[in-house]
């Protein structure tokens, strides 16, 4: 497609960086924003004395006290809804939901309330709410605790959804979310919490919402992914290079809503082949949305049907071998890539 332009330069990082884990980068973003704006407060289960189930908030309770770091009982519907109300009053709540799975009991407050506030009240009242929560699977946590249904939120006008795949974006996107005036769901990821990377020191550094990132440049195939699937895709890209001499470009979506179709289309119009990968089920999923937009934006550029890979469409089983068969592991992504490349 000829009319596509190059995406604007999205990185605004200052010069110095520090190596840290994804978890530490999130913590840094929280600390900086708690310092930056008194209206910001954290609320969630076990985020104080216990320091967070996944230790993201470690130390913040000590540093900022119980008023800014609120330990909530197990009452997701209550404290998510409470945060919507507080946000309507101008506070900036940052809610931690222990894992994505537990937001289901609060779904009504998110979809029917948070997402509707501004529009339904005619623009008179806003809802600067952040909900951060990890998706992910792979530790035999089984059916009720292994889900990645972040695209459900991306389906809803009124919500924004971001999903950082690197420590830099963990900091940058979380900060952008907290500073945003609308409800933003920040989808973190269990297996990436311990991953290390370079993170800009500049406290004004944010990753703009709605801008994808080319995580690896290539010429023969575009792999589009977000969250943990980016890591899987990068591994597969290396394999494609070494085993098949195929140069794969990997696009990390970073935001699911708004979705940066532009960056994806630019890439596909260059490579002419696209594979979409996601951690969750792909029926009606992110890959479905991205594939639909690719075929519309790049119909004439495509040399093969757009491929898709996701989790096998079963509730996650417990047994290790069944779990492995269910996950969108690199073998499956590689198989799908070969299929799209026509070398299978």
């Amino acid at each position: 497609m000829a009319t596509l332009t190059t995406p604007p330069e999205v990185e605004q990082a200052g010069s110095s960086t520090t190596t840290m884990t994804y978890r530490e980068a999130l913590r840094l973003a929280l600390r900086e924003e708690l310092e930056h704006d008194e209206k910001v407060f954290l609320v969630g289960e076990e985020i104080g004395v216990f320091e967070g189930s996944y230790k993201v908030t470690a130390g913040l309770f000590k540093e900022f006290g119980p008023k800014r770091v609120r330990e909530a009982p197990i009452s997701e519907e209550g404290f998510v809804g409470l945060s919507v109300g507080a946000a309507m009053m101008g506070l900036r709540p940052v809610v931690e939901i222990m894992t994505l799975n537990f937001i289901l009991v609060a779904m009504d407050q998110v979809v029917n309330h948070a997402a509707k506030v501004r529009y339904m009240l005619g623009g008179e009242v806003g809802c600067p709410l952040v909900i951060r929560t990890p998706n992910g699977a792979g530790n035999q946590l089984t059916a009720q605790h292994s889900q990645s249904f972040e695209q459900w939120f991306a389906h809803v006008p009124g919500l924004k959804v971001v999903a950082p795949a690197t420590p830099a974006d963990a900091k940058g996107l979380l900060k952008a979310a907290i500073r945003d005036d609308d409800p933003v769901i920040v989808v973190e990821n269990l297996p990436i919490y311990k991953e290390k990377g370079e993170v800009p020191d500049d406290p004004e550094f944010v990753t703009p919402i709605g801008r994808a990132r080319v995580a690896r440049e290539g010429t023969d195939l575009t792999i589009v992914a977000h969250s943990f699937a980016v890591k899987r895709s990068l591994e597969v890209a290396e394999q494609l290079e070494s085993e098949l001499d195929v140069s794969a470009e990997v696009v990390d979506l970073r935001s699911l809503r708004p979705l940066d179709t532009q960056t994806v289309a630019d890439s596909v119009s260059k490579t002419n082949r696209a594979l979409c990968v996601e951690e969750g089920w792909s029926s009606y999923g992110t890959t479905a949305e991205v594939a639909a937009r690719i075929q519309d934006a790049c119909f004439d550029d495509l040399d093969a049907p757009v491929g898709r890979v996701g989790m096998a469409e079963v509730p996650m089983p417990y047994a290790k071998n069944l779990e492995n068969a269910t996950l969108p592991h690199s073998e499956k992504i590689l198989g799908a890539a070969k299929h799209v490349l026509g070398v299978a």
Binding site: E45, E46, V49, F50, E51, S53, E71, P73, I74, S75, E76, E77, G78, N101, F102, L104, V105, N139, Q140, L141, T142, A143, Q144, H145, S282, S283, T287, P305, G307, R308, V309, G310, A312, E313, V314, P315, P317, Y318, A319, K320, N321, L322, A325, T326, K332, G335, A336, H339
Partner: protein, 376 residues
């Protein structure tokens, strides 16, 4: 089920009287010995579970019942086989107390095909339809509406049975608690909500989480009977469970039974359990371990004749745990070709999905659609 309080009379002045023939024959006393043995079995099973977890034979979240055995056994002892049991995710003790074969439970923890859920569920989702144990559930308070619904079904079909629904004290601040108790109240449903108050929901104490931390009192909001018992005393738990389950069966009245208990281990095997409570506190609680206390009481009462008999009980339980591990080890991994089995159960399902193939995501046809998605 007979009430058991009276058997305390059997205690002699020196507390070391040899068991009389009469007591030996008494089914009540024999039952108490069985309950004791079951408590020992659960403790040893959980200790073995932790070892197997550390050997990576078991994965995922794994929540142990150690310290709470008197509640598991006392409550399950009040159940008829037809009564229905629902629990949260801390379910190994309940599964064993309900009578499920330890091998089937261990095989599930190992993720094997002979496990209680055929390797699909793992530690949090043990179940046994034959014993009417309709599941361990992993979302806090998620099982409450289900249990209420099971009670509804019993009531609707005039079945003379009742439902026991376990939950932690951390679950009572969920909307599901309020909605379930209200429904059970207005529709006279035969369900007993068994609240295991072990003081901590992960690292949060009950008085920090609950505006009314005496949970049994909350039943009053639904004009429902609520009471609290010492959950470290098997006979107290049994007496109250029995009375309330009987009432639920016969009078169709729901109730809340709060058992004060304590978990000796961390929230799950991954939690050392020391960040939010002192070692001294745990130590002090372990000093009041319900198992030796109950063993001692039985000994004093003559229901158990000697230390030798206590040791015998322990070795029998050890043997059962060893056999459970052996059974689990020998059971096969589930066949990957059965991955999509039981996603649905209707026999028409495969046919209904038959035309979904074209344009499928990679691997879906092979892994999911071709195996029929049904129960075959």
């Amino acid at each position: 089920m007979a009430q058991t309080k009276g058997s305390a009379n059997a205690r002699s002045s020196n507390g070391r009287r040899k068991r009389t023939k009469k007591e030996e024959d008494s089914p009540e006393v024999a039952r108490l010995r069985e309950h004791y043995e079951m408590m020992v079995l659960i403790r040893l099973f959980e200790e073995e579970t932790e070892r197997q977890y550390k050997k990576a034979q078991i994965g995922g979240y794994c929540h142990l019942s150690s310290g709470q055995e008197a509640t598991n056994v006392g409550a399950c002892a009040a159940l008829l086989k037809e009564d229905v049991l629902f629990t949260g995710y801390r379910g190994h003790g309940f599964a064993l107390a309900k009578g499920i074969d330890p091998g089937k439970v261990m095989a599930e923890l190992f993720g094997r095909v002979d496990g209680a859920a055929h390797g699909r569920g793992g530690s949090m989702h043990i179940c046994d339809a034959e014993y009417n144990y309709l599941g361990g559930w992993g979302i806090v308070a998620g099982q409450l509406p289900l249990a209420t619904g099971a009670a509804f079904a019993l009531s609707q079909e005039d079945q003379p049975y009742a439902v026991l629904c376990e939950l932690g004290e951390g679950a009572v601040n969920m909307g599901a608690w309020h909605e379930s108790l209200n429904l059970a109240g207005i529709w006279d449903l035969p369900v007993v909500f068994l609240v295991l108050n072990n003081i901590y929901g992960m690292g949060t104490t009950v008085d920090k989480a609950s505006a009314e931390p005496e949970i049994y009192k909350r039943a009053a909001a639904f004009r429902m009977h609520g009471e609290r018992v010492n959950g470290q005393d098997l006979e107290e738990v049994l007496e109250a469970s029995d009375r309330l389950m009987t009432r639920a069966r016969e009078e169709r009245k729901p109730a809340v039974l709060e058992c004060m208990t304590y978990r000796f281990r961390g929230h799950s095997v991954a939690d050392a359990g020391t960040a939010y409570r002192t070692k001294e506190e745990v130590f002090e609680r372990q000093e009041n371990d319900p198992i030796p206390a109950f063993g001692k009481a039985l000994l004093e009462r003559g229901a158990i004749s000697s230390q030798d008999e206590l040791d015998e009980i322990r070795s029998r339980a050890e043997k059962k745990v060893d056999e459970a591990v052996e059974f689990a080890e020998q059971s096969a991994d589930p066949d990957v070709d059965t991955l999509a089995q039981h996603v649905y159960g209707d026999p028409d399902t495969a046919d209904q999905f038959a035309r979904m193939g074209p344009g499928s995501p990679y691997g879906e046809r092979e892994l999911v659609l071709s195996s029929g998605l049904g129960s075959s």
